[in-house]
């Protein structure tokens, strides 16, 4: 699969010159959601904590960055830092809720957290604009002194650069001891403890780091979409991300982005196919994926072995 990365990066860079502005904006959105999916893969695949709640720090980071964009700073980097730190802070605050849970209990608690955040976002009108959403965030300039990102192409390339940098950092970290330790926790937690590893602390750090990535993606959403509503962070988004991660191979952070791209493309294609029947077809897609994917993975493994 590795040989695919270079052409994929090339295609991603060339895309805004080949596609119309609307498609470019859609691609930017896919990049942003792909980054959230990478944080889901970090928890679900690498650390073994299946999550439906990464939309929560995603939302927290997005609303924080939007508030910053509306009221003070229009510099991209400060917005990214704002999003990441609020996402991390949100995760740190919710760590006691999740860190002792595993498996299906983790899935359930994170789902409840994600849903509560959406509910809170639709009620807290003064900050989030409620269900009407929040609009009018100006386009930022990436750094002090650089020009404003005033086209879809510029915003897309900005998102691509940020996502690329974050992904490289995450992949490099996971190749090192941090990745070993997290995979060790996933494989056999008791054995990690018996070797002296503080499993709870590792998982808490992974959870907070995933929160920071999702929060950073949230601030990127403000830049690329320039509009926020609670629907951007709903349960269906969380489920789509999880499906993308499973398609991408669960343990692979890069695969998560590819999987999310596939899932989002399939969703848009399905809702264009039969207008108004999108959710029905999407539901069918989930059901089909649940049956096909494990078999596919099994077959792939046999082909490889």
């Amino acid at each position: 699969m590795r040989w695919l990365i270079a052409p994929a990066v090339l295609a991603a860079v060339a895309a805004p010159w080949l596609a119309d502005p609307y498609t470019t904006a859609t691609l930017a959105r896919i990049l942003v959601l792909g980054l959230v999916a990478a944080s889901v893969a970090l928890l679900t695949g690498v650390a073994g904590l299946p999550t439906l709640g990464q939309t929560a720090p995603f939302a927290a980071g997005a609303y924080a960055a939007a508030t910053l964009a509306l009221h003070s700073s229009s510099v991209g980097v400060t917005q990214l830092l704002m999003g990441a730190s609020v996402g991390a802070a949100f995760a740190a605050l919710t760590t006691p809720l999740v860190v002792y849970a595993r498996g299906v209990v983790f899935l359930m608690i994170t789902l409840a957290i994600g849903e509560l955040v959406v509910t809170a976002a639709s009620r807290w009108r003064s900050v989030t604009g409620g269900t009407d959403g929040l609009a009018g965030m100006p386009s930022p300039r990436p750094l002090w002194g650089l020009p404003i990102l005033d086209t879809d192409r510029a915003r897309y390339l900005y998102a691509l650069a940020v996502v690329g940098v974050v992904l490289c950092v995450v992949v490099l970290l996971l190749r090192g001891p941090a990745g070993m330790y997290l995979r060790g926790c996933r494989d056999d937690e008791a054995r990690m403890r018996a070797s002296g590893h503080p499993v709870g602390a590792y998982l808490a750090i992974a959870y907070i780091a995933a929160g920071a990535i999702a929060g950073l993606a949230g601030s990127l959403l403000v830049t690329t979409q320039q509009y926020l509503s609670p629907a951007d962070f709903g349960f269906d988004v969380a489920a789509l991300l999880l499906l993308g991660v499973v398609i991408g191979g669960a343990g692979s952070v890069v695969g998560a982005i590819a999987g999310t791209a596939v899932v989002l493309a399939a969703r848009d294609w399905l809702s264009g196919l039969l207008p108004g029947r999108g959710p029905l077809l999407l539901g069918a897609l989930f059901i089909a994926a649940a049956y096909v994917l494990p078999r596919l993975r099994f077959m792939l493994r046999r082909v490889v072995a």
Binding site: M180, A190, R191, S195, G196, P198
Partner: protein, 235 residues
């Protein structure tokens, strides 16, 4: 001799079953101490309690003069309590080298600093560098030992290390245990009495959670109480 492991009136119950009944034990630094007794005597329970994998219902445990009774398994491992499990349990998705390095990392200043020692252990135990899931049973046991040694334990708990080994593997294991430096204190649970008598400085006999006798291998072999204890259990 200073006691590296001290156990005072240690008790553990499972419901109405008393698995360990107020056991006292002193093991000196560098000593090889074996725990024997019929099935259900409480040997593995005692190892679990010392490693922190289970909580006692009463009594105290000291390691190197420190009261560890309330510490979790990770804290005890960082103090130098290592264990070789009855069923070898590596991290299946990591390579054998990474398994050894991760197992030793917390006692040796991190994963990267453990790598050289891990490479040595890998070749010393004749292990290939593949993912742990691909190993045979005998290789897994070798890996388990290498993982325990990577953490440079002060106290090594061995839970039936000879179970299910071939004759060749058994003699390899005996050699590894014999060559352990005297900086490592060993508490061994084993059914193979030839290994026990060859290795142990002192032996403790347990039965039904009760302490029966402690002594040198010769004393234990000669003791009539021990023989009756075993014989009754067998009958």
């Amino acid at each position: 001799m200073r006691a590296l492991l001290a156990v005072d009136a240690l008790s553990r119950r499972y419901g109405s079953l008393v698995a360990l009944d107020r056991i006292d034990l002193r093991i000196g630094e560098g000593e090889r101490h074996a725990l024997i007794g019929p099935n259900g005597a409480g040997k593995t329970t005692l190892l679990d309690l010392v490693a922190g994998a289970a909580r006692p219902d009463g009594g105290r445990i000291w390691v190197a003069g420190r009261d560890v009774t309330r510490l979790g398994p990770a804290r005890r491992a960082r103090l130098g309590v290592g264990r070789i499990h009855q069923r070898p349990a590596a991290w299946p998705s990591l390579s054998t080298l990474d398994n050894i390095a991760v197992a030793g990392a917390r006692r040796c200043g991190g994963y990267r600093r453990t790598l050289p020692a891990a490479r040595q252990l890998l070749s010393a135990h004749g292990l290939p560098d593949v993912t742990a899931a691909q190993l045979s049973h005998g290789q897994r046991r070798q890996l388990e030992i290498a993982m325990a040694l990577a953490g440079r334990p002060r106290l090594l708990l061995l839970d039936e290390p000879a179970a299910g080994l071939s004759a060749v593997e058994f003699s390899q294991l005996s050699a590894v245990l014999r060559d352990l430096p005297r900086t490592v204190t060993v508490l061994l649970v084993e059914h193979r009495l030839d290994l026990v008598y060859a290795l142990a400085d002192r032996v403790t006999v347990l039965r039904d959670g009760q302490h029966v006798a402690t002594g040198t291998p010769d004393e234990i072999r000669a003791s009539s109480t021990v023989r009756t204890a075993y014989a009754e259990a067998v009958i």
